[in-house]
Amino acid sequence: MPEILGARELVVALGGGRRGLLGRRTAAVRAVDGVSLSIAEGETFGIVGESGCGKTTLARTLLGLQREATGEILLDGRRASGRAPPAARRDRAAVQYVHQDPGAALDPWWRVGATMDEGLRIHGVRDAGQRAARIAEMLEAVGLDAAMAVRYPHELSGGQQRRIGLARILLLRPRVVILDEPTAGLDLSVQAAVLRLLRDLRGRFGLTYVFISHDLSVVRRVCDRIAVMYLGRIVEEGSAEQVFAAPRHPYTRALLAAAPHLDGRASTAPPLTGDPPSLRAVPPGCRFHPRCALARAECAVTPPPTDTVAAGHAVACHRWRETVDAPEKVPA
């Protein structure tokens, strides 16, 4: 499958600049620091990592709401970056974003039908009849009754809000949809229904998903390929089977070990200790070394290169070869 959305050496700096007329310059923080991605058409690409690792900043930059400092974003193989937010957003209109909390992403004073209608209006659908027909069709596609359109956001359940949030975005006929924690805060039965719906919609509308989550069990069920992020960098990338069956980066292994297992067995990988360091004080060398059980002197000095483990499986760790012998067993 050809690449639909790609990033090359993307760096995003947040903050910085002067505050006020006489304020001191504050240092910028590199929330995304040299990320390269290649997302193929029709796949579900997972981005996992702890909160604060830059997942959402990466998503907002791919979307064009945040400007990249350096690096390129490619859409359909063509360069679609280098412009300031409103223009960048227009360049990448084929990419749309579904918020983590779709209830709060709806204006509380507007009926959800009016909110959906507004999206179409903004995207230049002039004919009112055509807008109504597309909304009815989309409500049906996300499994909601057409009568829902006259409700206010607070009159919907969490699952319904998520369906409306999806419908609102899919109405704009995107090709790539960035889903930010699409199952956070839902109970398991609703979560399963939402994941099933996402799979159906992907087939029906020919979508490509970028799936941002910290819930590994969900990522494993829906993603084709996975990138693991740590402090603004991708530390491991590969197909879902590769990453889950044979994780090579100590951070990935620790994340997998930290995920709750239903059978209650003990994990062989060392657990993660402490919180991720602040982006204002990024550790030198490998960014993970202060929390890594395998860290050696070298790790604190040299940033690790990205090595290829197998076809499509890459890892950025000095000592990934030593993790081969103790593969983490993950329940199927």
Partner: protein, 281 residues
């Protein structure tokens, strides 16, 4: 509608609402309600300063005019002045607050500092000064009141806009490519409307009070118009014998200002987001 239901559950706010509604009805039908509608301007020197009786329930004033009729006729002016002043203050303050709240930078800074300067101008002194510069009269008083009241709206809307600018639904709208003007006018403004309404209601009472004060000081309404503040002022020379002369216009001011303030407090409670949240779930 939910706000109305919330107010009706609150007896104090309901009382305020009733006072305001009564004043509106009186103002609308003043010429038909007043027993002597011509007494707004006509004097009857033979019946001056009569105590309250069946014929003149509120008594008569120094020119023999029926005080009840003049209080009723004065309601219309009091409400018109308050509406015009608050309307003008909204027309200036709301756009300033929206613009300054939405964007950061020199424009927002300048707008808010100008707002602060106007906040520091003492209302009465500006009104007196304007009265000296232009002809003293109700028009001058209204200009002075509007010039000193708009900063309150600018501050309220500024705070609301800053709050809403970071709201997820505004971010989502920017995400689907909505123009900032659309976001501001169709989304931020309606969400800020409860705060504006509360501020406007309290501002109505405040304006009525200040307009009456200006009338009393002689830079507001000019005789012989039936202005409540002016009536209290004219009564001063006839105290304490003609106690009814200042009492009834004074009571009218008190009740209407009280009504607006109680209603404003009730609206503020109804618009409180913590209370509003409970309406859905």
């Amino acid at each position: 509608m939910t706000a109305l239901r919330h107010i009706l559950r609150d007896p104090v706010a309901t009382f305020g609402l009733l006072l305001v509604l009564a004043a509106v009805v009186v103002a609308l039908f003043a010429p038909w309600l007043a027993p002597y509608p011509d007494d707004a301007f006509e004097s009857h020197l033979l019946q001056r300063l009569r105590a309250p009786s069946a014929e003149f329930p509120f008594g008569t004033d120094n020119l023999g005019r029926d005080i009840l009729s003049r209080v009723i006729l004065g309601t219309r002016d009091a409400l018109t002045v308050a509406l015009a002043v608050v309307g003008a203050a909204i027309a200036i303050g709301v756009p300033v607050g929206l613009l300054a709240g939405w964007r950061e930078g020199w424009l927002a800074e300048t707008l808010m500092r100008v707002t602060d300067v106007f906040l520091a101008v003492p209302q009465l002194i500006l009104a007196l000064a304007l009265g000296q510069l232009m002809a003293p009269g109700i028009g001058t008083a209204m200009v002075a009141l509007a010039l000193t009241y708009w900063p309150f709206f600018a501050r309220t809307v500024f705070a609301e806009t800053r709050r809403l600018r970071g709201a997820l639904f505004v971010d989502a709208l920017a995400g689907i490519g909505a123009h900032p003007a659309r976001i501001l006018l169709l989304h931020v403004l309606p969400n800020a409307a409860p705060a504006i309404l509360v501020r406007a209601t309290i501002g109505m009472g405040f304006t009525i009070l200040t307009a009456a004060l200006l009338g009393f000081l002689g830079v507001g309404a000019a005789p012989p118009s039936p202005d409540w503040g002016l009536m209290v002022s004219e009564a001063r020379q006839h105290l304490p014998e003609a106690w009814w002369f200042p009492t009834f216009p004074g009571l009218a001011i008190l009740l209407l200002v009280l009504g607006f303030n109680l209603l404003g407090d009730g609206l503020r409670d109804a618009a409180d987001p913590r209370l509003r949240r409970s309406r859905g779930h």
